[in-house]
């Protein structure tokens, strides 16, 4: 299983995401924002960070990077795509996922070990979690408040597309305590917490995030 990890100018967590893929038994392939080439990968991760300095809006400029044309096309063919934090913001700006991420309601950057419930295990990224698994995954964001209009929220809830929901505290003002969602088909997932930072006991809060990557690799999905 070849998993591409895109590096944008300002990406921070591309190395950690590639490492998580390797720890899960996959082959990590570095993809460059400026090249419209997915190099034959089976899945793509858009990592966290501050691509293009978060200028204009988080993810607004990355959306038009040459590689994103290919990511959007491949996502349309069913390729698994995971956006983490800034990657989630890019997926929303690209209209691969509905809604938007806005500045945390308390206006401060948040960095904590966050408990979340994995509510949708039908996506390729969450298929190895138990239903409604409660896990701890690192969260760090300044603009992580998920917003969408009422009808979009109703659809997401009604179709079971809330992938992860915050437990204990809502760390950023996200509507419905939403920490992550999927597209209709389920192949595109965006999450605010960072599963790639929760893959080894040596660093961070346990290994609850590793299943995002082991689950994907286990599927051995091969798509366009």
């Amino acid at each position: 299983m070849k998993v591409g990890v895109v590096t944008f100018p300002g990406s921070l967590d591309d190395a950690d995401a590639a490492r998580a893929v390797r720890l899960a038994g996959g082959e990590a392939v570095a993809l460059w924002h400026g090249e419209p080439d997915l190099k034959g990968v089976d899945a793509v991760v858009l990592p966290g960070g501050f691509s293009y300095g978060d200028y204009l809006r988080c993810g607004a400029i990355s959306r038009f990077a040459p590689v994103m044309t290919e990511v959007v096309a491949a996502a349309g063919r069913g390729m698994p795509v995971l956006g983490i934090c800034n990657g989630f913001q890019i997926l929303c700006e690209s209209h691969l996922l509905p809604g938007a991420l806005t500045r945390n309601d308390h206006q401060r950057f948040v960095c904590r070990d966050q408990r979340v419930r994995i509510e949708n295990t039908r996506t390729p990224w969450t298929s190895s979690y138990a239903d409604n698994a409660e896990v701890t995954i690192v969260l760090k964001n300044g603009e992580g408040g998920y917003v969408a209009d009422e009808s979009t929220l109703e659809r997401l809830e009604g179709e079971g597309r809330v992938v992860a929901r915050y437990l204990d505290v809502n760390p950023n003002g996200s509507l419905h305590d939403i920490a992550g969602i999927s597209n209709e088909r389920g192949n595109v997932v965006g999450v605010m917490p960072h599963p790639e930072h929760a893959v080894e006991d040596l660093t961070g809060a346990g290994t609850d995030g590793l299943a995002f990557f082991t689950g994907l690799v286990a599927l051995g999905v091969v798509t366009g």
Partner: protein, 84 residues
């Protein structure tokens, strides 16, 4: 030269933490009677030639595709005489 001004504002129903921070700061400076503050962005876009309907439509497309995110923001476009 044609100059267009694009104002981008957070939608009313979207929480605007930055505007709220400013709203909280102003009374501390002695300004009174302020009921609300919203914070947005202003773009000044200069184009070759004169303002006309076609250029206005083009600037609107810029606003829709890049300058504003219609999920959370609205925009207005106005033509402006460039100062010189």
């Amino acid at each position: 030269m044609a100059r267009y001004v694009v104002d981008v504002m957070p939608k009313r129903e979207i929480l605007d933490p930055q505007g709220k921070a400013v709203l909280g700061a102003l009374p501390r400076l002695g300004f009174e009677g302020i009921s609300d503050v919203r914070q947005g962005k202003r773009f000044e876009i200069d184009l070759d030639g004169d303002t006309d309907d076609q250029r206005l439509a083009e600037v609107r497309r810029m606003a829709e595709t890049l300058l504003a995110n219609p999920v959370i923001e609205y925009y207005t476009v106005t033509a402006q005489e460039p100062e010189e």
